[in-house]
Symmetry: C3
Subunit: 140 residues, 3 copies
Amino acid sequence: MSDERALQHALDVEVLRNLGQRYARAADARDYDAVGALFHPDAVIDGLRGSSTLEDYLELSRNTPPAYEKSMHVLGDPLIELEVGADEATLDTYAVVYQIGATREGGGNSTLGVRYLDVVERRDRDWRIRRRRTELRFMT
Amino acid sequence: MSDERALQHALDVEVLRNLGQRYARAADARDYDAVGALFHPDAVIDGLRGSSTLEDYLELSRNTPPAYEKSMHVLGDPLIELEVGADEATLDTYAVVYQIGATREGGGNSTLGVRYLDVVERRDRDWRIRRRRTELRFMT
Amino acid sequence: MSDERALQHALDVEVLRNLGQRYARAADARDYDAVGALFHPDAVIDGLRGSSTLEDYLELSRNTPPAYEKSMHVLGDPLIELEVGADEATLDTYAVVYQIGATREGGGNSTLGVRYLDVVERRDRDWRIRRRRTELRFMT
């Protein structure tokens, strides 16, 4: 058991690092159950359309007709702050979101520069996002 | 020796994470020996041009005149699945491939959104790709 | 204390991985004190404008009117070379730098493909960049 602490820390960091990548794949698949599973039920999301609860965010996402055919969320490495053994961490992630094939007339592809600022919490061994703030850095 | 397991796991994850970055640099340098060294000899590659053995893939790559002057494979963080102590892992990597300076008349630069789905295996302490599936997500 | 070595290595790799992300945020905020804090005082920077000392590099950065309104440095995962327990490492990082809103007439947005080749050194437990070479791979 003597290597538990180091191993646990390494595994924690991996889980945190994977969170963003799992989000990218869930969002690109428009699988909102999978998106929801990355957040705690009481999570708050400050998005580009204002602040909302997880429930409202997922419902809006499910019910809004997509403005483009597909997307690709390409994330940089997250900047992770996690004390060894702590149950809370922050992730600061730069991402480029490619939106391909606009569904509305006159629309084209667009590229968004986005920054995700997440507070992530471990509850019952399960790391999930408790608060996400999304900042739009640029759009072309 | 008591910290071997944790250290080994951390080192394994690093090797896996570096695989994609080594691929990017080898591909951009058009160094197909270096590309080949990232795969097991019996690897199968399901690429944008169909499925092939490593040998065929490398031969085709070597013999096809490049369609552009240079490339840059910018990879996101891989989504890694590796059990502690296992000899097999999967990597799911988003990448943006910039192709610069088309060599054919009328061609321009292009940007490709690519997803690499790799099965990676450790043989004799050596982690290499055993199967790669490449998906094109977008091209502009 | 038996897990110290593994834990230390994992923490070292995290610090190295975070260096680039901290650079990206400092550069995008045009916070040159924060940029400077990532380098040793005697660091040498071989940039796109030639080789310079850290001091000269920071002074030039502070005194040059920005050619665009904002930037976003989106970095891929660094390729890290670090022996367990060593005090020196190399980082090889691919990045895409988005420059948004040209401040000069006739200018537009531009996208740069950049590669950072860093020699990083630990002094008094503090990992910082001792030498950076910046290569421009493409510009559109």
